[in-house]
């Protein structure tokens, strides 16, 4: 009994770490920059195919791909910022959302052309290894994926809360004019933050590729998971996103153990609806500078 409960908690926390890393970039871009990046999951999908490509073509282990994905996707994010976001800041309210939606559709379709709609899995030497830790037994690959996610989340928290640049980014989110008055180059730091948001999406894609099957069109499911995490945990705070991710993972594994599979999603969406009703905040607080 105890070991079953521990097993469920362990599985839930490992799954929750993955959810947290999936929601991280969406939450931060929304909370800090007021950008509803609906293309978030498209970059997650690119991260997953990056992992697959590196493994198949160059025999690079996903753990190394994870480390490579962060700077690579940061650069991609910086490019998207320069090409799209900067222009959208001057445009009408909802055009930014439409632009990001367009980008999502573009990436998914280009992905389908390149990789077809076939579902892929990443298989490595440790894919079928089970780790026994006391009373629980967990797949090694999930432990590694969870650890990578945890490392990324911790790095983001440290950056935003403990470094002067991170504080400047948060300051910019709270009062852009005052930030400029003390010498903060808002455009440059916005580029950094957007790059980091996309970097976290790419890294989340690597984590997902290690654990789940994926195809270009599955990205939309990840978008709904990311939004679920963001709505549960609120936006702009790393620690809340982590908590929301872990909670979602736990709800899912506990519910799966107790009830038929079909009801699990029902329960999650009841939780989501409750949060929306109780907090009544929804996404409204953010539509300050919606792009």
């Amino acid at each position: 009994m105890v070991s079953t409960a521990l097993q469920i908690v362990a599985d839930g926390l490992l799954l929750g770490m993955i959810y947290a890393v999936v929601g991280l970039g969406l939450s931060l871009l929304l909370g800090i920059m007021g950008i509803i990046n609906v293309a978030h999951s498209a970059f997650i999908m690119l991260g997953a195919f990056f992992t697959l490509g590196m493994l198949e073509a160059l025999h690079v282990d996903p753990i190394f791909s994870f480390a490579l994905a962060v700077p690579l996707f940061f650069a991609v994010g910086a490019l998207v910022f320069r090409l799209i976001i900067v222009r959208m800041e001057r445009a009408e309210q909802n055009q930014g959302l439409v632009a990001m939606f367009g980008l999502m559709v573009l990436i998914e379709n280009v992905g389908t052309i390149f990789w077809t709609t076939n579902t892929r899995v990443v298989t490595v030497a440790y894919s079928n290894v089970q780790l026994k830790l006391g009373l629980v037994s967990v797949p090694a690959v999930r432990v590694i994926a969870g650890a990578l996610a945890a490392a990324l989340i911790a790095a983001f928290w440290l950056f935003l809360n403990r470094s002067l640049i991170g504080r400047a980014i948060r300051a910019m989110a709270q009062n852009q004019d005052a930030a400029a008055a003390i010498g903060i180059n808002v455009t440059r730091l916005s580029l950094v933050m957007f790059g980091l948001g996309i970097a976290s999406a790419g890294a989340a894609g690597v984590v997902i590729a290690m654990v789940f099957p994926f195809a270009p069109q599955t990205q939309i499911e990840w978008l709904s998971w990311a939004f679920l995490i963001v709505i549960l945990g609120g936006f702009g705070r790393v620690e809340n996103t982590l908590a929301a991710g872990l909670l979602t993972g736990l709800i899912q594994t506990i519910a799966t153990a107790l009830m038929p599979f079909d009801y699990v999603y029902l329960l999650l969406y009841v939780a989501l609806a409750s949060v929306l009703v109780l907090r009544r905040e929804g996404l409204r607080g953010v539509v300050r500078r919606t792009i």
Binding site: A168, Q174, N175, I182, G183
Partner: protein, 242 residues
């Protein structure tokens, strides 16, 4: 503070909407060690002028210079490097950051030099000892007066030679407002250039060395404090059109 400098504005035209300039030829000078006050009725363009001087609004024509250097088109975030600090109207703390983090960010231009950043922090906390016990509290949890003190402390981190101040006493209790004006006088006595835009005509004139009045985006009258002290009532009545 490195080298006092005179801020000069010549025939400035600026506005937010094309074809509708708010400033239509403003010329003023603010000298070091002086409090220069800009007054005027609502809508005269006082705040717009200050925002143009701080780089938030690109002038349509005219020029702004500091100590002979042209800064007309300098972006807002570069002003502090030139020694120009701007205190906008209303609250401008970063509410979710602590008092200590707010003030430390005022030293953003010093970020490459840890020793100088540390020294600046020590200097500012020594000057405003009442802020020290509040250091770890979120700035948003403080009273209006305390937040104003945080803003002033943050502004002093970069040791500016020019201070652009917009309506410093709005929303403050009278005794806090009085302290605010005393602090502006202290900055003046340190040789800084103070350009103050204010609705609180009486308080502003009390600390003014020189006064400009704007109406409808243009210079109206100007003069030393003495020229204004006696006749405030007439001036204000004229703005109100009574």
């Amino acid at each position: 503070m490195t080298g006092a400098a005179e801020l000069r504005v010549a025939d400035l035209h600026a506005g937010y909407v094309p074809g509708h300039p708010i400033l239509r030829g403003v010329t003023i000078a603010a000298r070091p060690g002086r409090v220069t006050v800009v007054l005027g009725p609502n809508g005269a363009g006082k705040s717009t002028m200050l925002r143009a001087l701080a780089g938030y609004l690109s002038p349509l024509s005219g020029s702004i210079s500091l100590g002979g250097t042209d800064i007309t088109r300098l972006p807002s975030f570069r002003h502090i490097e030139e020694g120009i600090a701007f205190l906008p109207q209303g609250r401008s703390t970063f509410p979710d950051l602590t008092v200590g983090e707010n003030i430390e960010l005022g030293g953003w231009p010093l970020r490459g030099n840890h020793v100088r950043l540390r020294q600046a922090l020590d200097r500012v906390f020594a000057r405003y000892p009442t802020l020290a016990p509040l250091r770890d509290r979120p700035a948003g949890s403080l009273s209006g007066g305390q937040q104003r003190a945080v803003e002033i402390a943050r502004l002093l981190m970069a040791d500016p030679r020019v201070l652009l101040i917009d309506e410093p006493s709005v929303g403050l209790a009278p005794n806090i407002a009085r302290q605010m004006y005393q602090e502006l006088e202290a900055f003046r006595d340190e040789g800084r250039t103070i350009l103050l835009v204010d609705q609180d005509v009486r308080s502003a004139i009390r600390i003014a060395d020189y006064v400009y009045v704007l109406t409808s985006g243009k210079n109206d009258i100007e003069g030393d404090r003495s020229a204004f002290e006696g006749d405030l009532g007439t001036m204000v009545r004229r703005w109100l059109g009574v």
